[in-house]
């Protein structure tokens, strides 16, 4: 317990500092309350303080649903720690509730005894009714199991901003900065990064800069001054490998990976895309990176998105197309064309809740079967997945490497959870990234478009290369010449050749690794964005000396060569998926194993606790 002087030096109070290893906070409010911004700022500052962290933004599909409603609640969860962590946390320690609806929706995931900071101003009769509260939870007993900090955030904000000449409505808009300031005080984070950010972001509008900065400071001071708050928390920097770090979301990392791949392939980059949640940010990010000779083409639809990319690939660009489930469905036919003409192309599907429009802003992993198997004809396409926000960078790069080396479309699956979520990322050095360039066909004289090299890839020649003029298309091709061929034997040969080419990629990818014992009772097998939750759960289970391994598959077609044999070394296989068991289905067909599926299809990611419980349940039944 120390006695500190408040910022304005007028008053002192006693404040206790508590050291914690691990904290999870949930900011929640109306869609218009700026919770995503608040969360992002808290995250960014926390990253700079040196914690490991993981975030989970969670917002409705309406742009600004009517204020006060339950479905209009927007949340942002951030988990930070002095240890290495993998997920945004099972439950949270502190809930910031900007209105009754936010409280109602989020309370069930708050730890027992957790902190609730409520904006009491928002707890009026109208909002209580909209949130379907009969009585105010601040006045009945319902919150007795928690530490409630009632703060009239709106009033305090407007008070702080008086004199700036703003309307009440304008002043009220800054209340999220007040809340942020208060949380900075509570969790002992510096205000400077946000103050700087405000200046940069709103620089053109001085009044807004002033209002937001003042609100932030007022919130911080409020913590200092008022008697309500007597405890502050500290989370020490994590022991992370030395390096330069930055916080990235999965979509940002994907865009960076695409640019890095173009640079390292020594090719102009091209993205043909059509906006769709939650993939749009990739197009948005890339459209800012034109100085890397990367062209973005916002097409009229998803079909044009991929077809322009195919055209660009034919012209010699490293071509990409990005989308989510329904858009992926629309690209089906053209993916078949890309594989028939054997051009390099990376297709990125940021999965979301389906089927159909489904739950567009929620996460899911239910496009695996579509990606791996959903095309007319025998149409093999390599499929890989990213496991975490930063992992998206490396998998986008890897997808491009495979596409170029094997002259094939490659599908990269990410999902809404890792696309929007963020984590600190130790930046690679450009020079440490491998060169993935492929030579164009060398010799016009001997050039034939459908000859094969040792890994069955055909040679690439692009327009403007004199003497290499050739024709390609979606009709079956004759081996070597690439002419149209209806010959029965040639068709079988080519169908098998395309299958073999893709299967052969197994020789070119790392062996499957395992976290934990090489054999034993239980292997939890996952893919994609469930990585963090499974890893965290596995750590907990292994800490209890349970015979549990975590096998996370990054290469989904073809699988790593040692996978089948590895899977057979465990008594039981548990596959948690955010679908009804799609990986399990494919593994069953491939390896005749009999895994257990743990299907969560709720638009939400797994928590480590989910996995831990299921694993324990499974172990018990053995």
């Amino acid at each position: 317990m120390t006695t500190i002087e408040t910022a304005d030096g007028q008053k002192t109070k006693s404040v206790k500092f508590v050291e914690l290893d691990d904290v999870t906070i949930r900011f929640a409010g109306d869609s218009g309350d700026g919770m995503q911004l608040t969360g992002t700022q808290f995250t960014s500052t926390t990253a700079q303080v040196g914690n490991d962290l993981s975030t989970f933004p969670d917002y409705p599909s309406e742009i600004r649903a009517p204020s006060g409603t339950l479905y209009g609640v927007s949340g942002f969860q951030v988990h930070f720690s002095s240890k290495d962590i993998h997920t945004p946390g099972d439950r949270f320690d502190t809930l910031v509730a900007m209105n009754p609806a936010a409280l109602k929706v989020n309370l069930k995931l708050l730890h027992e005894g957790g902190n609730i900071i409520v904006n009491t101003d928002a707890f009026d009769a109208k909002n209580l009714k909209l949130a379907k509260y009969d009585t105010s939870p601040l006045e009945d007993d319902s919150l007795s199991g928690y530490k409630v900090f009632p703060v009239p955030i709106t009033t305090l904000t407007t008070t702080a901003l008086e004199g700036l000449g703003l309307t009440v409505k304008e002043m009220t808009r800054s209340k999220n900065f007040f809340a942020l300031g208060l949380l900075y005080w509570m969790y002992n984070r510096p205000m400077e990064p946000t103050l700087e950010w405000i200046k940069e972001k709103f620089g053109k509008n001085d009044l807004v800069v002033q209002a937001n900065s003042r609100a932030l400071k007022a919130g911080y001071n409020f913590g200092n001054i008022t008697e309500t708050f007597t405890v502050r928390f500290n989370v020490r920097a994590a022991e992370l490998p030395a390096g330069t770090y930055r916080n990235v979301t999965g979509n940002e990392a994907t865009a960076l990976g695409m640019v890095a791949a173009a640079v390292k392939a020594k090719l102009p980059g091209f993205l043909g895309s059509y906006p769709i949640t939650p993939a749009s940010e990739i197009l948005q990010e890339l459209s800012k990176m034109k100085r890397f000779n990367v062209r973005t083409f916002q097409a009229e639809d998803e079909i044009a998105g991929i077809c322009t990319a195919i055209g660009a690939a034919y012209g010699g660009s490293l071509a990409f197309t990005t989308t989510s489930g329904p858009g992926m469905a629309l690209k089906t036919e053209a993916i078949g064309l890309a594989l028939m003409v054997e051009l390099p192309l990376v297709i990125i599907d940021v999965q979301r809740g389906g089927p159909s429009t489904g739950l567009p802003t929620k996460t899911e992993q239910s496009d695996l079967l579509q990606a791996a198997l959903g095309r007319n004809g025998e149409a093999p396409v390599p499929v890989i997945a990213a496991c975490s926000p930063a992992g998206c960078f490396y998998q986008a790069f890897e997808a491009a490497r495979i596409a170029l080396k094997y002259m094939t479309p490659v599908i990269l699956l990410t999902d809404g959870y890792i696309a929007n979520g963020s984590e600190p990322w130790m930046l690679p050095k450009a020079e440490d990234l491998p060169d993935i360039s492929v030579p164009f066909a060398p010799d016009a004289e001997s050039y034939q478009p459908y000859t094969r090299d040792d890994h069955l890839s055909r040679p690439w020649a692009v327009p403007c290369m004199a003497g290499f003029e050739h024709r390609i298309g979606g009709l079956e091709k004759q081996h070597i010449t690439g002419n149209v061929s209806h010959d029965p034997e040639n068709h079988q040969f080519m169908v098998e050749m395309r299958a073999k080419k893709v299967a052969g990629i197994a020789d070119d990818i790392p062996d499957q690794t395992v976290f934990g014992p090489d054999e034993g009772d239980l292997a939890i097998v996952g893919w994609g964005g469930t990585y963090g939750a499974i890893r965290a759960a596995s750590e907990r289970l292994q800490a209890e000396n349970k015979s549990v391994a975590h096998i996370h598959i990054r290469y989904l077609n073809p699988f790593p060569k040692n996978l089948g044999e590895m899977l057979r070394r465990y008594k039981k296989i548990l596959i948690p998926e955010l679908n009804l068991g799609q990986l399990a289905f494919i593994l069953r067909a491939h390896y005749r194993i009999d895994p257990l599926t743990y299907a969560k299809v709720q638009g939400l990611p797994f928590t480590p606790g989910d996995i831990e419980d299921k694993a324990n349940e499974t172990l018990k039944m053995m």
């Binding site: 040196g50 920097a237 490998p241 770090y245 990176m289 034109k290 083409f297 450009a430 979606g474």
Partner: protein, 349 residues
Amino acid sequence: MKEEQNAELQEQLKTFTAKDLASDQDVRWCPGCGDYAMLSQLQRALPEVGIAKEDIAIVAGIGCSSRFPYYMSTYGFHGIHGRAVAIASGLKSGHPKLSVWVATGDGDCLSIGGNHFIHALRRNIDINIMMFNNQIYALTKGQYSPTSQHGQKTKTSPQGVIDHPFNPVLIALGAEGTFVSRSMDRDPKHLKEMMLRMAAHKGTSFIDVLQNCVIFNDKTFDLYTNKETRGDNTILLEHGKPLVFGKERDKGIRLDGFKPKVVSMSDYSESDLLVHDEKSKELAFILAHMNDQPGYPMPLGVFLDIKRTTYEDELDRQVAEAIEKKGKGDLDELLLDGQTWEIGDNGND
């Protein structure tokens, strides 16, 4: 391909001949098919454009006409049905130096491919779209197309087509096309002239080619192609020239308000007639509609040829601008962009 490139330079750049443009594949169209005329005229036109052979790419969709690329010895891409324009748009945007030609059918271009078509036109990507309009789906053996005539009996319209057809010129104008023209397989000279005009135009060029399908829709265009009736039923649009037509050049077009009217040259002199102006969108529309009315000739030639910035130029400009502003992309810099922090070696303790 700037218009200002002069003839002399072009002659000098002629590095290949029509014959060099034939591929080693047999042409597999039916004997008598109008597609042959298109092929031979493009083969004749391209050597005069002043581009290297390796800088030419032909992109097609699916249909009889879309087999076109296989018969050219240039770069070629036989795509999927309806997507030729989208593929060509990507090819040109990523590789602006190329001379990109699209071979497409009335089904490929206006039915399944309609959306890509109108979007290419508004974007004004510098590709050349040759639409082989036989008013039928030929490759699939005779179903009606979006240009088939109302009432036409085909395999899928045993009681007659009930759809109102597109007027390809009109839809191209509505989509803000900058070069819109029409020709026919039976007038190879005019075809070639149009192709050269298309090559010269910077921006999307579109040509609606009346093409005879001898198998599934033989003689639909007889009225316009037949020597007997052609003169009275077609009119050649020539920039700056009065609109005269008729087998005996005995008829002309005048405007009555904004409605065209056929007049007899015995009553009027050429100077009384409407003068064609390729630069006027309004006139282009008026002429596009003209032959909706019976008794009016079908216009052939260039309806509109105006300038607008092209998509690929603008894209190039943005790339250049971005480089100018922030410097050529440096990957390390990009990665460091945003709020970063350092963890020292003691972080590993």
